[in-house]
Symmetry: D3
Subunit: 333 residues, 6 copies
């Protein structure tokens, strides 16, 4: 069973799995080689030292490997340090990603099931088939369930893309029929596919970061390529429909300045942009408020991306009306 970094106390023996975040070798005053490590998991990081057989151990693992570590937590000059007696590399299959990175608090399989069901509300057979092709693509689905929705702004946790996608598709269901003349099939399909390029844009098995092609091309281009790849496998997918769908995907950021090469030009594209942006902002702020509000304060820290503070006082607990007021609340003048 996993022992978490933030649980280990001085003098405890440790026998668990960690991620090697840094690895340097040094020479002791007596001329021996030692290894200086930073070991981490979801809960934090700790210093580690290998004083014995350092050269042998050093060849068996690298930075960014997951490792099985045995050792004892010691205190050196007021800092805790894990004295490592044994270390060996383990494969990715041996670990649980959720031990190492923040993860959605919701059930991934449950969310995925809900998304499949939502996608089944799409009536247009071409769009149905397109979605179906994605659900049958196992490699895609595996990554789609785990990838975060962003590096740190919103849904920055394992399962984040799935959570955001499900949320957006549900918002679409709630809002599309509020207006006459919007095409629900197009909106639903686009809401499900809008960020799928993040499957290629983001890396999440060592840290949350951009892949090279994510950085150089971005999830809009990468997503269009995945969609185009599936459409090519379908018979007679109408070119007009493909163009309209892709337009929603490439315009969902809403403005050139936010990386969309086209502004929304159809009513569906306009709605998708607003709901996507609202979902990202609200959940992003909620995540920020959970971590960036000091004890006892009603105000968050300064949010550098939004260039403002947020008011954290829970509006839910609005003050009750006092008993002394008369029944209609009017002042007696």
């Amino acid at each position: 069973m996993k022992t978490y970094v933030n649980e280990i106390k001085e003098n405890e023996n440790v026998d668990s799995l960690f991620l090697v975040k840094e690895k340097f070798s040094g020479i002791t005053k007596t001329g021996n080689t030692y290894l200086k490590l930073k070991l981490g998991d979801r809960t934090g990081e700790m210093e580690g030292r290998i004083w014995t057989s350092a050269e042998v151990f050093s060849e068996s693992f690298e930075k960014d490997d997951f490792v099985h570590v045995k050792g004892k937590m010691t205190s050196f000059q007021e800092h805790l340090q894990l004295n490592v007696s044994h270390i060996e590399r383990v494969g990715e299959e041996a670990i649980l990603l959720s031990d190492f990175f923040p993860m959605t608090e919701k059930d991934i399989e449950g969310m995925f099931q809900s998304l499949i069901e939502t996608s089944q509300q799409v009536k247009n057979p071409h769009l149905c088939q397109l979605l179906q092709l994605f659900w049958e693509d196992e490699a895609f689905v595996k990554r789609f369930k785990m990838v975060p929705a962003s590096k740190w702004v919103h849904h920055a946790f394992l399962g984040g893309l799935l959570e955001h996608t499900l949320s957006l598709s549900q918002l679409v269901l709630k809002n599309a029929n509020h207006y006459v003349g919007l095409n629900l099939d197009l909106l639903l399909t686009a809401s499900i596919l809008h960020d799928l390029g993040k499957v290629d844009e983001l890396l999440y098995t060592r840290s949350f970061n951009y892949s090279d092609e994510g950085q150089l091309l971005g999830h809009i281009i990468l997503g269009i390529e995945r969609v185009e790849d599936k459409i090519r496998q379908l018979i007679d997918f109408p070119r007009d429909l493909s163009t309209l769908l892709k337009h929603l995907l490439i315009s969902h950021h809403g403005q050139y300045i936010w990386g969309s090469p086209k502004k929304p030009m159809t009513l569906e594209a306009v709605m998708l942009h607003y709901l996507d942006d609202m979902d990202a902002k609200i959940t992003g702020i909620q995540q920020f408020l959970r971590t960036q509000v000091s004890e006892g304060s009603k105000w968050s820290a300064y949010h550098r991306a939004f260039e403002q503070f947020f008011y954290a006082s829970t509006a839910v607990d609005l003050p009750e009306i006092p008993e002394k007021s008369d029944k209609n609340g009017l002042k007696e003048e």
Copy 2:
């Protein structure tokens, strides 16, 4: 019964009510005074001339008066011109505003009833009382039901503010519970009151235009004053609640550059801004598409406020899947 400008044909006799949009006096070659008028209603404008007793008639009405006109439509140098034989000023109570200005296609009383019902979902007694005070203010309610939501961008018709307000409150009901921790009472109340300053900002009984105080102060300031005026009449309205509510009202434009003196700082304020903006944009674009798309074109004219074109092809009629495709739609390769 009203005879509309766009129905009057050459040689027809006219006996109906119109609005005087322009009024100039001139001198004929024979030295007589004549009046040159522009008369209008909801459907357009027409030229009018008073050749007889012009000086007498001239004293009895002014530009921007509603008038009862008798005359005959004549043709002069290929243009139609109403030869006016009798004209007299009528009071505002004699006309139907909807004969003269575009009007919501929905039922005003029905919408108002729905809004009242929506407002009754507010549980917090202070907010209930506040809303109640507005509904009991007859002068306010009368204007609130008729004023357009803007001069031309969105909901630019009689009843527009009511239609937009009802729409926004319904969007709030659909979206507020999508997230945990948003205060529905605050959101509902703010959605109902968010644009109420437009009651003072806009004039609509002669043309849709800004009042002087609308131009100089704007509906955010004017709305805050109306809200403050009601709150002052209530016993023990909590200062915190008042501050939170006003924050939603003043920040609902979302950005300084759009005239909000504060950016949204609470989750409720963020949601209100997005839903308000989405409703204004979508209905504004719908209105634009209805009038600014040439026959046979799939594209609107250039929208100067949004600096773009819109695609008008009704996405609703997506192409059907052809019969010849096999059951799963995959190409046979």
Copy 3:
């Protein structure tokens, strides 16, 4: 042989090909149907009228058709008007596009040959094969040779894309080796392919305009799809190389605000952006100066896209040094 609109004089008989730019039917005072046409070619537009057999002729052609017209130029109320006695639709193959739209002054086949030769300087076999696939795609090449580079800003004439592409590839050859460490193969290939999506973005056989998918997706997305389509046909095209190439294509506008979803992140992408922008600006200004400078003025009209005036005085003719100056030109003080 083509008779051009700007050559036709009053009372001349006309027998030539034109493009129908507008077509309306009307009723004469005597109750007969007539047709009101606007007929055009590269040199201008003229009014046309069909007074006889209008209903019969009307069924045989539509707006935007090319037509063979016989008639006589007449004068009506100081305006010239073509009195059409015969009109019939002709196919696109019967006309020369250059009779109807502005065309490059350079030789299209010669430019294309130069571009092929330039592309042969690419050494990397993958990139060679990719370019080769495009050159073998006859439908593509046919459009690539004719499409303008833009609707009106720069190279807005038939053959414009080819002319701009050749110019850019030559600029790349001149500048790439000025710095150490830039990859010429990548730069050359990207310069040749950078705007190829314009083949799909722009229509040029009736007027210079955007296609629906051009408007909704834009040439960057459309170009990426064409490139991806070719790469898919190649064995083992390296993913890294594909990513780097696509990065140059999508970032060549240089800024989000100019429609690039990524900013240039490699040295090659930075250079491509500058040279492309310089070529577009300089040739765009040259085109503007040719048409937008009043007789006798040294200044152009106001350029609305660049928000400035340009100085048109030909700097080439700098003043000669006067004979009276001494040999080193210094003042004698």
Copy 4:
């Protein structure tokens, strides 16, 4: 011979020249005055202490002086510290600036000779004479050869202005004849003179910094004054030519926001701006990539002025085509 800071090891004796970067005096626990110094050269900085005769030595040198130092490198609480036994001020003529500041890797005299030769391609006699006056101005030439092109953005090393100027003039030679109608003489002269005001704007003999007049007036104004000063010495320099030349100099930043009081209005000014900007960006990025890419990373640090990351992987080494592909590289489908 110079001993460099980054070469000195514990317990070594030092006898070399350094620049005094900081100088503070303190009191030891025993009540004696000591001096705390920061001494530097091109390779870094080190701490220094004078424990003996501190008051006497203190009077003989100041911060920003070059000094001859004798002493021994010691270790105190894990930090190295030079124990200074002797120190005395030396004049600027005693040192080599390149020992103290980064310097171009190219040969200054060689570059200057190339620039002279380039300037000799100018045919217009007025412009020739103008350039000649600059080359004959020894005080100017001395600074022109050494001054960096900027404080830190690009060419931020001794000889940087010369290197950038030569590079730009060569780019002009390569690109000017690509278009018809650009005046090479004007372009060449402006490229050579465009940044000459930096001779007055930047200080480089103590640190790279702005002079007071550099900060208050900037190199565009200072450059114009130097050019005007030379033109005044010439007979009959045409006013038109002077205006056109100055226009290129003041508009070369391209936009108001980048400090140009006029935007480029002639074709020559447009080209000069693009080539200057391209040269500054590409060499600036190259310099950034050399220092701001972590070991093993393909990505640079975040560039704050350009607000982005750069991709550092050398594109030169594109992947070779694998042997197994068939001769035309097409997939066998």
Copy 5:
């Protein structure tokens, strides 16, 4: 005596001076040459025709000449047209510029005298001498008294620069001593010289327009050159003082985006910018209100440069307090 365009009535004989604003020659139906003119003065423009001896007259004057015209005002198709019987060119010395262009309503010599007196408050001898040199430069003073301060934004009339300069120097006198530590001499001198480059930037003897060097260099650069030219004539003008003064001149627009190559960096430069901008805005708005407010309206037309409307109702006439209020004005509650 001048007969003004807006005073001439049908059938009147005209014998006065005008400016030729347009001049075209045509051929009458009978094959004779005639001239079509547009003649103007300060009060407007009128059409003119020369039917007789047109070819002879045509050689004696050109567009932009002042001419002595004899003729008779006739009416043709409801438009007035001057039938010219005689026309001949007159020199500039024969006319009063104020007959042809709007002119300050203040006394030019009186304003100039006030400015001289204001300049005599400068105590610093270097600055005194500098100002003195300008006042002794007759060619400069002649233009300085007449040139408008801008083409149309503010003080766009003859004498406008002088009026604005005097106004600014008086504002400086009123505000400089409001704060401790601002140098009045520097502020006064800079206020007097801040826009002097407009003497070269603007043409005003045919229409208000930019000179070529005005357009290409702008009044900031042109002004610096005039100041530098004078300073060069003075002995020992301190370099520091010159730098500080020029800094005020080049930074007085306040922002890069408004064409200043440096932002104000001294307290004097900050104040000069604010007062200059305030004077230009207030007088510009006053001028706009005088011409751009419709009869009976309280609102100006839309001001395109400032992107807003202005409220024209004269605030001076604030409502008087009614008699019925009690002495302290409090409501009796």
Copy 6:
């Protein structure tokens, strides 16, 4: 009498009042509770420790309390630390705010008296009564005299709002009559009331910070509410006058982007904005120069709000003219 933090030396006994800026409790190695404090006043902060009876003392005061402290200054590991032997909470009435926060150097009562006198120059009886109501509101006046004008940008000291308000009203008196047609009464009243919402926006009795309603609503909204509250108490205050006055208050920031919901639309509003901005900038820069210029430097630190450096060299001491110049200062050429 107050002992100030920056005066206390090692080994001194302390018996004075301080503000508790931080308060944490810890456990000594021997298992006893101790308190770790940060104590401050206007002159700085110091560390404090309570080793004895810590738990008892801890209950008697909190962070942000003013306390009476007895103890002795000791040195621990080169840092000074106050060893507290006694501590107890005191009420706000026991302290002088000016002992704890920076305060205007001017006399508060004197400034207030000047402001009253200035306000008496207002002739319009409605505006007089309005001002009078504010002066009679003791709670308002008390805060108005003490509140700073901002948290840190300008007038960030006790009495700052009063000082800024008085300064602005005096600037109005100096500048209003410089132009014809500005209403002095309106300008004076608005200058006095323009920032009064800061009385509610800022907290200053523990640190300079925003109140919750200050952050959520801002001083423009809060000020309008206070003005409206007073106007409501007056008989027959004209609605037009109220609208004009409020327009000046809400537009005084000048631009949307600076938080004004309306841009200045009257001449008075334009002037008020310029003078207010000038006063804030100049006094803000003066305050910045006093603290942010290094010894011996002529340049300030980088000002992050204004994004520039300021030149600090006192321009007052301009160089004197040297004796050797001849009487008119001209060079002898």
